[in-house]
């Protein structure tokens, strides 16, 4: 059955440059060209949804815009999504709307934080979700470039998130255009991110991380995998991390993207991902005397300093989250630091019944 669209109709020029200018004037986009959401395109998107057009998936902050499937589909068209990718967008929005992700705070914060989408499952190849070389930018897979962008446009157009107005982000970050990459499960020596959360390997699963940016790590000097992992732990525990601002070390995760070559090295002493996490946690701390005296007192007041003077970045090993992806050139890892007051959320990608 064909859906009946109810969103307001608007006449615009068919000329691409005039349309682009109009979209900027109306503040519908991110500055880059958009695909006009004509009825045939929106209907094609809706045909890929497991829910009908008028189904309300939730209310998106900050302005509490009502997110119907139809409005989400319109924004997915704008972003250039192919219909087959629309269920991934829906799953990402579902995850963002989980209270633990804290969309209320994250859409309005001064921080650069934004939803970073990590996809597991068979859909990665079909949809062009990059997980090999250049997966965090530059590889150019359609899924990576448009799914994250669709989520960003939904936050902008439905949630009303606008920099300098409802969003108080001081700098923003490139990922605010949209960020979506996959895990290279086939090259990971460990259970995948989705499997570790209890999902089957045959499922497509989106993990949404409130990430503050991409923090690059590099090494050519350490042959012992323990030495290298130790330095990764020390590097992610940088003193101005958001996780040291909070009095609550139990919230937030740092995602650590590890290239497949390093992952193989780490897997020799640590055959399970949980062992990697435990080792990272043991070393993700800084000595209290690293901080100036006044700051030391604040950390003590917040009960962040252990008796041995260690100030741990996070309260538990599972807050340090390895994900295997990236090219085979090795030498690099990327940390995706946490906002702190946000928890990873996951949702299964659901498609219409056959």
């Amino acid at each position: 059955m064909t859906a009946v669209l109810t969103s307001e109709q608007v006449e615009v020029s068919a000329d691409p440059e005039a349309w682009h200018a109009r979209s900027i004037e109306e503040r519908w986009g991110d500055g880059a060209p958009l695909i006009p959401p004509t009825d045939d395109r929106v209907l094609a998107m809706l045909a890929a949804s497991p829910e009908p057009a008028d189904h309300v998936i939730g209310v998106l902050p900050p302005q509490h815009g009502v997110a119907t499937i139809e409005l989400l589909a319109i924004n997915a068209v704008l972003a250039g999504c192919e219909p087959a990718a629309f269920p991934v967008v829906l799953a990402a929005i579902e995850a963002i709307l989980e209270p633990g992700w804290n969309a209320f705070g994250l859409t309005t914060t001064t921080s650069s934080v934004f939803p970073m989408l990590i996809v597991n499952g068979p859909c990665r190849d079909d949809l062009g979700i990059d997980y090999r070389a250049g997966c965090m930018g530059g590889a150019g897979g359609r899924g990576s470039m448009t799914i994250g962008r669709a989520v960003a446009l939904c936050l902008r157009n439905i949630g009303g998130q606008r920099a300098g107005e409802t969003s108080r982000s001081v700098f923003g970050q490139p990922a605010r255009f949209g960020m979506c990459f996959g895990e290279w499960e086939e090259r990971s020596p460990w259970a995948s991110l989705a499997q570790r959360a209890g999902f089957g390997a045959d499922l497509d699963v989106v993990t949404v991380h409130g990430g503050k940016g991409t923090y690059p790590l590099a090494d050519i000097h350490n042959d012992d995998p323990r030495d290298l992992l130790y330095l990764i732990a020390k590097s992610v525990a940088f003193p101005l991390s958001n996780l040291y601002l909070s009095g609550n070390p139990e919230n937030g995760q740092v995602v650590i993207a590890i290239n497949p070559v390093w992952a193989d090295r780490f897997a020799v002493p640590f055959p399970e991902a949980e062992q990697v996490q435990e080792f990272l946690w043991e070393h993700a701390w800084q000595p209290i005397d690293l901080w100036p005296a006044h700051n030391q007192q604040m950390l003590r007041d917040r009960d962040r300093v252990a008796n041995d003077g260690k100030v741990r970045l996070v309260g538990r090993p599972d807050q340090l989250v390895p994900v295997v992806c990236g090219g085979l050139g090795s030498l690099h890892a990327v940390a995706l630091p946490s906002f702190g007051e946000s928890q990873l959320q996951q949702a299964v990608v659901r498609r219409p019944s056959a």
Partner: protein, 184 residues
């Protein structure tokens, strides 16, 4: 290449904000004598902690009992406990000051917790710094409490000497009382 004048029809991608549905804002409409006035602080902002301490002293001097509450988290177990504590605190006080809005998310949660107090039919005054005033008023409107009382303080408050903060506390105290609806 010439531009075409053809028109196409598209669908508007923006959501219509929910109906205003603005709730009434409460005021104390009484003197401070015998009243319990709440002061909600956030562990993040030392400037506001100091100002709130000063105001507590003034309020007690002027006949009120004060009840402080401090928040720390937005999500997880800590966030749940904080929101529960705000709810309980809202039941116990006759009105209160909620701060500090001096970042994006902390302003959002300042408004959130102010609205909780108003939902208990108690007057709330959200305390925010001038840089975040428009954000505070937007969030209050988005939460259906567009008439929420907002006290606007100088920005930034952080990194000011304690003496200066005490002076600001003194200077803004009458305005704070007026917004709460305290009658002399």
């Amino acid at each position: 290449m010439s531009a075409t004048s053809d028109l196409i029809t598209i669908r508007r991608p923006t959501a219509v904000p929910p109906p205003a549905n603005q709730a009434p804002a409460f005021t104390l409409d009484a003197s401070l004598a015998g009243k319990t006035i709440g002061l909600r602080t956030d562990m993040a902002w030392r400037s506001w902690q100091l100002i709130a301490e000063e105001w507590a002293r003034f309020l007690e001097r002027d006949g009120a009992t004060t009840l402080p509450v401090e928040t720390m988290s937005q999500v997880g177990k800590g966030g749940h406990e904080d929101r529960t504590r705000i709810d309980t605190w809202s039941e116990k006080v006759d009105g209160g000051f909620v701060g500090l809005g001096t970042c994006g998310s902390c302003t959002s949660f300042t408004i959130h917790d102010s609205v909780t107090l108003e939902q208990h039919e108690k007057p709330a005054v959200a305390v925010v710094c001038s840089e975040f005033e428009s954000h505070a008023r937007n969030m209050a409107r988005f939460l259906g409490h567009g008439d929420l009382k907002v006290l606007v303080m100088p920005y930034p408050l952080e990194a000011r000497p304690d003496d200066e903060l005490r002076q600001i506390a003194l200077e803004y105290y009458p305005q704070a009382l007026a917004l709460l609806g305290v009658q002399s």
